[in-house]
Symmetry: D2
Subunit: 356 residues, 4 copies
């Protein structure tokens, strides 16, 4: 496979460049007979789309998904669900100056090195616009999982150096997440984050952040031993999202300096432990406790300042950001984290059904 | 696939439990006509094996690999390379008391939940003994990559709170790694780490750590866009190693609080950047700069102290560690990190050859 | 995977039902930098489309393919090629009477048994309309292979009992294939076949046929040992085409009654044999001689006569053919056989490049 | 994948050459908690092994399988089942004369062309000895399927021109199959076939044959639409067996000259049809009726007579058969056909469980 397909039994294949006629995908292996809630899918797409607020890029995309197959009389048929999302605000001319120039920390140079021939408009295939297709598949998977009692909820827990503490994360009021522009459940910290992003946007710069995700209701037994451990697939899924540089499950990097006697999660019952440093997964398989993990996003590469670069002959050039850009993509990425989580979990759910 | 196979073109399938007659694997897709250096493979296995030093478990295993196929007159034939590593020091009786008991933070409960029927001796399939098979495949892959100019080198950069700084990592003298028991290139810090592990071993407890890995000589163009990004696969590979809780590529979690203008890697030439926060990968594809990443290991679950647990009926029981154990597995995991890195890179190397 | 994806490195995923808004697909792994000849793709689609002649169904479909991604400035970029073919002549009402009825020898009953919920209009996903997507991918693959000197040519060699002899097949003038409605290179036999189909169409009945395919210019070394033998994949690919009931490679079923001394192909040089009973493949790997095989198609299930069937409660009902139908699909399937052959060969071509 | 793995959820990976220390394999995805009948597995291996009778090769192999993992206290654990079958009667010196010579219609030349470096002893990886590993996996799968009420039975229906008629096949007394050396249920025809093989063996020549396989008890709904049709996978599985040149499902090649009105299988109830030309599969999915198919085997390539060939420089040489050989492999292949059928069906059985 050439990298645009994900999953074993529940699979998503995506296609499309930022500035082509449309992006889209094919969802295979979704169970038949499921009544689709189309409004929720659109709501999820709206959480990702550009132009939501003053904080993010003003590119205008209505991001309306069109389903082409696999749904009959409102219910899934078990056959592939093909869909497209037309690109509306293409403005390809914006990018002509990048034909022979590699923007620092973008994928321009690596695509050129890999393929020789690349679509240089708007990031082409490397554009985060591709993630809209993941949101469609994820929104479907999330609906299905919810019917099985599995809930996925992600939020921003850090922007720059403004960070929720462990206690703040544990006590987070998840109902507040969508009430603020940065999707942080602590409204005080949210305001600080907003101010930070606004000031960085004014400077023409960008800033990183982190997303915390918690999944409840996962039955014990999902995940496979050895290579396809549940948290290994979650890690791959998160690291496949644009701008992600790190992933940690449960106690994560903090576990390095812990003792085994502190870290071990004593059992208080079957599928119940008094602590949850394991993050709901032991030996790669869910144990019935909540799964939680954290994903680090670097600052996006598009900035206004002039930067040193080279052209395709290796000659020095100066690149200045002209396009529209997000000072911080992390709030928009919350729904992508949830989508990829749902895609991973539905795949493992079906894999477990196969053997049980 | 049921989780015991890895890779697309270069694949490894492993089998075997800690206390069965043998573990082993099948390597598929290794290029034909390669003269195998068997000594190096054994040396790599010796770096992983138990009983190397006073710091680690005293289980005795000679870990001698037997190749059964795919190599003819010393050279690979392109057909599957089957191999086994006999288990010698089995002592199954040690584990009878665990038949109906779930050890905290082990995979006992999750395997039971997944399969209903489990091999409770010595961790069964969840034992890190499985990683010996990965070392065999990794050692082969590493030999091949080295001929292409690709060098993989990992070392311990943190045990507990004793940690190498960025500068210490950059200036590390890699020739010192194998000179000390913890495989840390800074001999001063290495001694501190040894002392820490020794004291924790004496307490019957365990401690976590971190491994830093750097890969040089990777040509630009390896990795696939979207889901199979090079660092996403590296992340999955690392997270599939026993006890791993976190992964970060390049600037990693530190990137969260950086500005784009700081983080962007300005080009100084084709495939050359003045900084390398990207960690040698942009848009999921190698850019020709060194690749580096860091992997976090929790403290191992086996400790001597009595712990609260439940039996298979959910009744409270007390579990005490009786088996041999490592106070810290991280030094032994260095070669596993290298092995999985080599496996991932060889797969992407072949995938790139297919289209170029 | 749920059955709608094909291939290892060069892959095709298709979606779409006969009577939805569109069918389409995603092509992954096509090499970058290839200048696409769009006219040839459309020509291939026209060879498959309904309504070409008086012999076939009069359903009107212009079958215009729209490429949505993966091609930039006329050349492939190496990223997924998404495409759709809108359905025009839907007339869903034609099929309301089939909601609760299973047509004999169609897939109505088996889809119901598998999924519980099915799209009963026009055969849904089981309709041969799906093969239009294969023709798009196949036409691209064929263009690429042709540049490597590989030529694929299929034709009808039997309709009902009218059959080309081995000598007639060997001496076939391939330039005549497209000159007649049945796509048989022997114009005399072609006329007989036309007459036969016309008379069977008048009776409201249908008839089977066979397609012979020859591939020249395949270098020695394509195909994999053991399970993924080249002819095993060709067989799977052909048997995946609607209405196919049999496949034979080289000497095929005729080899049963041959002696080894007759059947063995003596070498006259490297990659050259005096006979070619092997059909260009030995041990699952191409040997440099022409590859040839034969595919058997049953008579299509849609006929005018009243037939005994059951409804979804198992009660007897009478089904009469009301829809438009082909008396013989075999002439339209010639291009599908070529397409699937090209898809299989391009995949093995890339797999071989990866290791060589 | 490099061709030595089969299946999606239930998978078999095989390794090993004819004259190495051992062949073997890894079975993944077999359901946990299944009590294994080891005697039956050995009985199946004995049906395939050489030296069973005067008709077949006198190579001596006891073909004793050793299970290394995945079975605990007699029951499967759900983890990979690794196994080896030691090679005993290796006599590698027999083959030194073939180092630089390509035997006609063997895979010597094609392996050389593909890999450059090959194991020339005893056919290496291309030897049918590899199929012993398939028999192990198939015997396990067959046991499991039998508990679900699915029975697989194959027999020889043709050797050379001696052939069972359709009526003889339908009325075959399956209890007689193992009573005769050729595994044909019609004892009269069996005697004729034995005589034919004996006389051809005396001539130092070989002869082809055909195997008929019938599967009963398959529930409706197994198989996937489009590419992974049940009969397409069965076809691939059969064509992957050494010496197979053709496959037909249900009416097969005979369907070419049938009318739709004759061929259609009228329903007499849900999952019941009055005829079964479809061979139990419609649209690629089982319909509840018996599945039956036929597989054609060419005469094996090893014969005593001198044959024209070339050496690795392309110079003419004469090859004479010196090794031990079968005049007809078809009776020994009956159990391989059953094994591959079981492997295919168990995979689809699990795939269907995943979505139902």
């Amino acid at each position: 496979m050439a990298g645009s397909s994900y999953g074993t039994l529940f699979t998503l294949t995506t296609f499309g460049e930022s500035h082509g006629p449309a992006i889209g995908g094919v969802i295979e292996g979704f169970p038949a007979g499921f009544l689709v809630d189309f409004d929720t899918i659109q709501t999820e797409l709206d959480r990702r789309k550009p132009g939501q607020s003053k904080l993010v890029t003003q590119r205008k995309e209505s991001d309306k998904v069109q389903f082409l197959s696999g749904i009959f009389e409102g219910k899934t048929t078990g056959t592939p669900i093909g869909f497209i999302i037309p690109n509306e605000d293409q403005k390809s001319k914006d990018y002509d100056h990048l034909k022979n120039t590699f923007r620092p920390s973008h994928a321009d140079y690596t695509y050129e090195a890999k393929y020789g021939h690349r679509d240089y408009t708007g990031g082409g295939r490397a554009s985060a616009r591709e993630t809209a297709s993941r949101v469609v598949a994820g929104a479907l998977a999330k609906q299905f999982l919810l019917k099985q009692g599995i809930t996925i909820c992600a939020f921003v827990d850090q922007i720059g150096s403004i960070k929720l503490s462990k206690v703040e994360i544990e006590n987070a009021d998840l109902s507040r997440i969508e009430e603020n522009l940065v999707r942080c459940p602590d409204l005080g910290k949210a305001q600080e984050m907003e101010n930070l992003i606004a000031s960085i946007k004014k400077q023409g710069d960008s800033i990183g952040g982190s997303i915390f995700c918690r999944v409840t209701g996962v039955p014990a037994g999902l995940g496979e031993p050895v290579f396809d451990k549940l948290h290994a697939e979650l890690g791959k899924a998160m690291l496949s999202i644009n701008a992600v540089k790190g992933f940690e499950i449960g106690s994560g990097f903090g576990s390095i300096s812990m003792l085994g006697s502190e870290h071990n999660d004593a059992f208080s019952g079957l599928g119940k432990t008094t602590t949850n440093h394991s993050g709901g997964i032991q030996g790669g398989i869910s144990n019935g406790m909540p799964i939680y993990f954290r994903t680090a996003f670097k600052p996006v590469a598009t900035i206004v300042a002039a930067q040193n670069s080279v052209d395709s002959s290796g000659n020095p050039v100066i690149v200045s950001g002209k396009g529209r850009h997000d000072a911080c993509v992390v709030p928009r990425a919350v729904v992508i984290v949830e989508a990829m989580t749902a895609i991973v979990l539905l795949d493992f759910y079906l894999r477990q059904k196969a053997i049980n």
